[in-house]
């Protein structure tokens, strides 16, 4: 092995180790530090369990919403380009550029009882802020472009000749969509879904502001972990962090597999 390459490897491994492996290892070590019985009890912590359920409920709504939006917006931007769709193509990236805190504040400005549309909802007797809808809204917002950023380049690359050929073979638009378009973008969309899921589960800043962080009611898993550390209940915090880390590992595995499939598909070497 050349010396420069050896140095490079040590630097990279050291960097990743210090940033990722050590802290993650620390989380595992802390979570298991009181033995299995304690861990089992901590897993049944009432507030944490409610937080997990809330996070799952948010993901169950936010992820499909963003998949529908992401695939729809991608098709519109690529297949029916117009001035409006070109604006959307740029605007769709805004959530990635904005700090989640800003996202939270903007949503609060808009949906608070005395906000821009919040007052209208309040008149109908609906409270958006500090409730489940607000958390979903914030989660959808921060993960808005994650599906379309995967799907748009693929749609551009494959073009519309396959779809047009299917039309000349007698296929109706819905059939073309399900047998050609959706089949072509399935793996890119799946990759987008896992990214969205990871982001929705892990979001902290925006959700912190719009949820009000009310324990047992509007506290997601990330907020619950934060709250436990703040109230010096760090063991419970580490257990929550362990769960979050395990979900991340699972999601990353799915991402890895689907990206692998996607790459092979893009280079035409899939079966």
């Amino acid at each position: 092995m050349r010396r420069s390459s050896l140095v490079l490897r040590i630097v990279v491994i050291g960097y990743v180790g210090a940033l990722l492996a050590l802290p993650l290892g620390f989380v595992f070590q802390q979570a298991f530090s009181h033995g299995w019985a304690q861990l089992w009890a901590a897993l049944h912590d009432h507030a944490m369990d409610l937080a997990i359920i809330l996070t799952a409920k948010v993901a169950i709504l936010a992820v499909p919403l963003n998949v529908l939006f992401g695939v729809g917006a991608s098709l519109w931007i690529v297949r029916h380009p117009s001035k409006v769709s070109r604006v959307l193509d740029v605007v769709i990236d805004v959530p990635l550029a904005l700090s989640p805190i800003i996202v939270g504040l903007v949503l609060e400005l808009a949906y608070a009882q005395n906000g821009w549309f919040g007052s209208a909802f309040a008149a109908m007797g609906l409270r958006v802020m500090f409730s489940y809808p607000a958390i979903v809204l914030a989660s959808v917002f921060v993960s808005l472009p994650l599906v379309s950023r995967q799907v748009i380049p693929l749609l551009r690359e494959i073009g519309d000749h396959q779809e047009q050929t299917a039309a000349t073979l007698g296929a109706k638009p819905t059939r073309i969509f399900f047998t050609i378009t959706l089949r072509s973008i399935a793996w890119a969309a799946a990759y987008g879904v896992t990214l969205t899921l990871a982001r929705v589960i892990g979001e902290y800043g925006a959700v912190l502001i719009v949820s009000g962080n009310i324990a047992l009611i509007t506290q997601t898993l990330t907020l619950n972990i934060g709250a436990n550390f703040e109230s010096f209940n760090s063991y419970q915090g580490f257990v929550g962090a362990l769960l979050l880390a395990l979900v991340s590992v699972l999601v990353l595995t799915v991402i890895g597999v689907s990206r692998h499939r996607l790459e092979r598909k893009r280079h035409g070497s899939f079966v």
């Binding site: 039309a167 000349t168 073979l169 007698g170 598909k265």
Partner: protein
């Protein structure tokens, strides 16, 4: 099935791509739409297929107006230049796609696909995926897929452009014999005049969204309506104000000619030899000679010759830039 279109006009992003063109394609014929890139030939093909909407004009199949009929109901087979294989489907599934859409029963479908696989000589590749096939195989797959629905008309967009020279020549004659065997009305788009003249019953030469000329290949070659057609189908040179095919000129001794030209260059390309001459006013003419002719007269740079015209292409070179009225077919709306 005969295809006709009249007054077909299409603008794209403010540019006129097709300028009110009309033509009739006879049943069972292979027509080549020939023209340089940007002449509107591919757009015309997609308009006939119903894949691109037109701004004005009509398209008819067997006398029936299909201008507002969607592509899926036109029963036209279409092959893209890139063959557009369904990448996630095997070769067999690609060919079966149109039959599935028509709800052909499984056993019958299998039988028909097997027959098509034999027809395009891809029996051994039935379960392969498009990326495992060569360019020529993909092209035959696209052809089989289009033929599966037993279309009334076959449209091929630059079918051989993406293939290397040897495969191209083979497929060209194979497609031609297949087309004759099936007797299917076919329109093929190409920018290659040799390909068009070899394969087509009839040429339609497009330039800047207009039909310059339409007719049988030998006729159009010998009687080009415009200098554009003349120069697109083969080399031309001018002598005085008249355009000629360089192989229709010959060199004669000075005493036999009124005007003499001086040899400036002799280019030997194997069998063909190009002799480039200039007249006293400085204009250039070139004459195409065979190897044997050159041996006889042995032209050398600086030598003077007269030029005799064997036959005339007869397009006044001076009017070359103006768009001329095409011959044989008329292309004004209402003429059909």
């Amino acid at each position: 099935m005969a295809v006709s279109y009249s007054g077909v006009t299409k603008s794209y992003r403010g540019r006129l791509v097709l300028d009110g063109i009309s033509d009739v394609v006879n049943e069972g014929e292979l027509t080549a739409l020939l023209g340089p890139s940007g002449s509107g030939k591919s757009t015309l093909l997609k308009i006939i297929a119903g894949l691109t909407p037109l701004d004005s004009g009509r398209v008819s199949l067997a006398g029936k107006d299909v201008t507002n009929t969607p592509a899926r109901d036109r029963h036209i087979g279409f092959c893209f230049q890139d063959y557009a294989p369904f990448r996630h489907l095997s070769l067999r599934e690609n060919i079966a796609y149109g039959l599935k859409v028509q709800h052909v029963a499984r056993a019958q479908r299998r039988e028909q696909v097997d027959e098509l696989l034999r027809l395009v000589r891809l029996e051994d590749y039935a379960d392969q995926y498009p990326h495992q096939l060569s360019g020529g195989q993909r092209q035959r797959m696209a052809l089989a897929r289009a033929l599966a629905i037993k279309p009334d008309v076959l449209l091929l967009d630059e079918p051989f452009a993406a293939l290397d020279a040897q495969v191209r020549a083979e497929l060209r004659s194979w497609v031609r014999s297949l087309q004759q065997e099936l007797g299917i009305t076919t329109i093929l788009v190409t920018h290659d005049q040799v390909e068009a003249m070899e394969i087509a019953d009839r040429l339609v030469i497009l330039n800047e969204g207009r039909i310059e000329q339409a007719g049988r290949p030998p006729f159009v070659y010998d009687h080009p309506a415009t200098e554009f057609v003349a120069s697109f189908l083969g080399p031309i040179t001018s002598l005085g104000d008249i355009a000629y095919r360089p192989h229709e000129l010959e060199l004669v001794g000075v005493s036999d000619a009124a005007e003499t030209l001086e040899v400036r260059e002799v280019v030997r390309l194997g069998f063909e030899v190009r002799v480039i001459l200039t007249n006293p006013k400085g204009s250039t003419t070139w004459v195409q000679l065979t190897h044997d002719q050159v041996k006889q007269i042995n032209p050398r740079v600086g030598q003077r010759f007269g030029v005799r015209v064997r036959s005339t292409l007869a397009i006044p070179a001076a009017t070359a830039a103006e768009p001329a009225t095409p011959r044989e077919t008329s292309h004004h709306e209402g003429s059909h």
